[in-house]
């Protein structure tokens, strides 16, 4: 049978394939952290499946020594839905990017989230098309210039977290490629969640869009550029002397300066509630962006809703309980029959 799970280590999740991302690519760090977290999740290795579409990040499954399926552009959520529906006991991870997941695959992303299929979706957001060598993506900033837009991007970008919330996501988190502890934490939480866990990973593409997330990747600037979320804790960020908090009123966030010793709750700073019934709260968080606001990281929303594959499985067991297991002979003979001879 399966190897004792306790004995698994990071090495057990490394495939024999040479990793072929560009040097310095943020994907390396994500891969290492995923491999590190896997042994802790309490599942035998053979029960993990990594499914991807097309793009730099979609090479990910080849490097994981688990089951893996590198599918076609944008459709990974649909393949993953089929896998999970077929075998709910498997832990299915979707690896996608901003182009794969939100441009060509936007429709599938919308529907997989709305159905709440129990998957972990890691969306690597580098705000660029890397594999096709540097065209702008649906998350690229307005005005960005590159090969396919020499005069600058004119289509408004999409905010992945807001998209996921709009689709009715039950679990939404954001993390940063190089922030190992926070990334690992989010991966564990995503795995625990029963339903679609949507995780945006801010990822640097040093070749085509270097420094897109520099402020939050750099440990020194991260304190001022990021807003680490913790359930039950006030929304506070900033270095000593720069301490600030976020107040959200009627869905509108504002930055409130705080003295270093000031009680944020007394100062009216919002306390983070990832289980907020209304997605409006998480949506307000999703709108926080530089230069006025810090980038929230961590779990923005985590609520319970039955997952699609469970409900489907329940229909099967329900039908069998009500009618007994299907009989082919009975099925063929249903309706009017007549006998000759």
């Amino acid at each position: 049978m399966s190897e004792p799970i306790a004995k698994l280590s990071k090495k057990d999740f490394e495939s024999d394939q040479e990793v072929r991302w560009c040097p310095g690519c943020g994907d390396y760090s994500v891969l290492a952290n995923v491999q590190r977290v896997m042994p802790e999740l309490g599942l035998p290795r053979e029960n993990f499946v990594f499914v991807s579409g097309i793009g730099c990040s979609s090479r990910f499954p080849y490097y994981m020594n688990t089951y893996g399926f590198h599918t076609i552009h944008g459709r990974a959520p649909a393949f993953a839905t089929g896998i999970k529906v077929a075998r709910p006991e498997l832990s299915v991870w979707v690896i996608t990017g901003d182009g794969d997941g939100l441009s060509i695959g936007g429709n599938h992303m919308l529907h997989v989230i709305r159905r709440n299929v129990d998957l972990q979706i890691l969306l690597f957001n580098n705000r660029i098309y890397g594999l096709t060598k540097g065209q702008y993506s649906p998350t690229s900033r307005l005005g960005m210039r590159n090969k396919s837009v020499p005069m600058g991007v004119i289509d408004a970008p999409i905010e992945p977290i807001a998209f996921a919330l709009g689709a009715g996501a039950t679990f939404v988190a954001r993390t940063v490629d190089v922030d190992a502890p926070a990334l690992q934490d989010v991966l564990r939480r995503a795995h625990e969640h029963k339903g679609t866990a949507f995780v945006e990973i801010l990822q640097n593409c040093p070749v085509y869009n270097d420094g897109e997330w520099a402020a939050i990747e750099d440990k020194k600037t991260r304190v001022d550029a990021g807003l680490p979320l913790e359930h039950g804790q006030p929304l506070v960020f900033g270095s000593k002397g720069q301490r600030r908090g976020i107040r959200i009123e009627h869905g509108v966030p504002t930055v409130v300066p705080l003295r270093d010793d000031e009680d944020p709750v007394a100062a009216g700073i919002t306390v983070h509630d990832e289980k907020h019934e209304s997605p409006a709260y998480a949506f307000a968080l999703a709108t926080l962006a530089p230069p006025v606001f810090p980038i929230p990281t961590g779990v923005l929303r985590a609520v319970e809703r039955p997952s699609y594959e469970r409900l489907l499985e329940d229909q099967v067991t329900g039908a069998i309980a009500a009618r007994g297991p299907g009989s082919l002979a009975k099925l063929l003979h249903s309706g009017d029959t007549w006998t000759v001879g």
């Binding site: 049978m1 399966s2 190897e3 394939q17 035998p44 290795r45 053979e46 029960n47 993990f48 499946v49 990594f50 499914v51 991807s52 097309i54 080849y62 994981m64 020594n65 089951y67 893996g68 399926f69 590198h70 599918t71 076609i72 459709r75 649909a78 393949f79 993953a80 839905t81 089929g82 896998i83 529906v85 077929a86 075998r87 006991e89 498997l90 429709n107 599938h108 919308l110 529907h111 229909q315 099967v316 039908a319 069998i320 009500a322 009618r323 007994g324 297991p325 299907g326 082919l328 002979a329 099925l331 063929l332 003979h333 309706g335 009017d336 029959t337 007549w338 006998t339 000759v340 001879g341």
Partner: protein, 622 residues
Amino acid sequence: MSSSQGPIASGSSHPKKSQRLDRVAIRFAGDSGDGVQLTGTKFTESTALAGNDLSTLPDFPAEIRAPAGTLAGVSGYQIHFASQDIRTPADQADVLVAFNPAALRACLADVRSGGLVIINSDTFTEKNFERAGYSEDPLPDARERFQLVEVPVTRLTLEAVRDLGLSQREAGRSKNFFALGLMYWLYGRPLESTFAWIESRFEGEVREANIRVLKAGYHFGETSEVFPVSFEVPRAKIEPGTYRNITGNTALAYGCVAASVTMDRPLVVGAYPITPASDVLHELAKHRSFGVKTVQAEDEIAAVSAAIGASFAGMLGLTVTSGPGFLLKQEAINLAVVAELPLVIVDVQRAGPSTGLPTKEEQADLLCALFGRSSDSPLPVLAPATPSECFSVMLEAFRIAVKYMTPVVVLSDSYLASSAEPWRLPDVAALPRQGIAFRTDPDGFFPYLRDTETLARPWAIPGTPGLEHRIGGLEKQDGKGNVSYLPENHQRMTDLRHAKIAGIVQDVPPVEPYGATSGKLLVVGWGGTHGAITTAVDDARAVGHDVASVHLRHLNPLPPNLGEVLRRFDRVLVAELNTGQLWRLLRAEFLVDAQSLTKVQGQPFRVSDLRSGIDRMLGVAS
């Protein structure tokens, strides 16, 4: 009788004479709201119970809510029944039951001259003539050319239910039962099964109304003097067994369930609603108790992708669609070709490129199935010939998919989908069982090691310890299955994929020509044209022509002896409902000087289309 006369002639209580007929074709036609399909289906059921052989064809308007009374809104249902073996719904109707002028206008050309035309005379008003596009009353002309019977169906219906307290509208809805009752009398059909059905389906006054109106129609036939005789079509000589009526779409769905049962593997269906394939999804969605999981996906691409995902995870993956959806799926199907995963794709073909004629008949996706994907992407293609054969074709499709680890395309068509015939039910216990052998042994495992006989790679599913591996759309290294960009490897893998599919021929039975083993002319067909082609061959042989036919169920690989069979005949005529797709294929494959007979009118072949094609090829005047 004219509509002004009283509905029921008095005093004719003695039984009328009954006349024997070999076969009859009846067309019911009216507005979509007239219950035409229901009338046709019920008549078909009782005809089957009466022991006739039969074939039916519904004809739906494309618009769900076309304006009432217009040609666009005409819904038709033809049933052909006989005391001998028949295979088509008949070229021409002997009887037309027209619920309104539009139905008369749409169908009269398909009625044999001198045939019986029964109309609901209450609807033959100036206003309805206009709606139907008649500039003048069509009845005087119809009286000349047909036996026209004018029955005030609406009025008689309302009269029959007057005391039930139904609104005029509600009461009027029962009028199709009047027509049904009348036809039951005319052809000596028992009413019981329809009574039972009404009882189970309706309640209260509506149930009572339908029963009364059905009886009223029957009694009208019996007592009114407009029908001096009734007819009797004796039982057909039919192979012993238990029968039921089946449409192609239902048989398809049952075939999928049967594949799941006989292979002992649950079925996962990814589908997106599309005419005329949706009924297969509807049918499969009923069968959760067989473990069938249907996923109504967000689009055609997601539907096939989910099915492939399920197959990767070890289930039987199925997707069902029609032409436009089939195209959308091709990239995902290409992945299944390279990933070498079992998958069945059903394309219930419909007419025209793009949206075309969504409810109409054509078989023009053959080359798309064979060659409609980028690069070299071979896969097996099967096509059922009759509604009931859809069942066994699905069983075969799944068997091939699993045995050879390949996607399989099944080409049905809108005619097969909705036409019905009696089906002798197979003995479930005798259906071949084919258990699935997943790879479990890690020793020496590589994902692209091949079975020496079938060239299939192993099916190693997630959850199996020690077999963790990655597959995908990038070209695979022969054997090991790692990504490979090497030129010789791509050549080798392309050749292997071809050889694997070509090798399926070992499971394809040789064809046996119908009618004669050799001779002057061979008609080759495939798919839903089988009934028309074989009937035409029978008719031509009956008048002494030297003609035979071959009907292809396997379009790829083609049957092993096909080239040799084609050469046994002086001439070959390929008959198909497209502009010559199989014809091109056979010429390319076998270098035979085959000729092509085609039709693309959104309608099946008529037997007469084929008869004149045969006569032309034989150089005889038709």
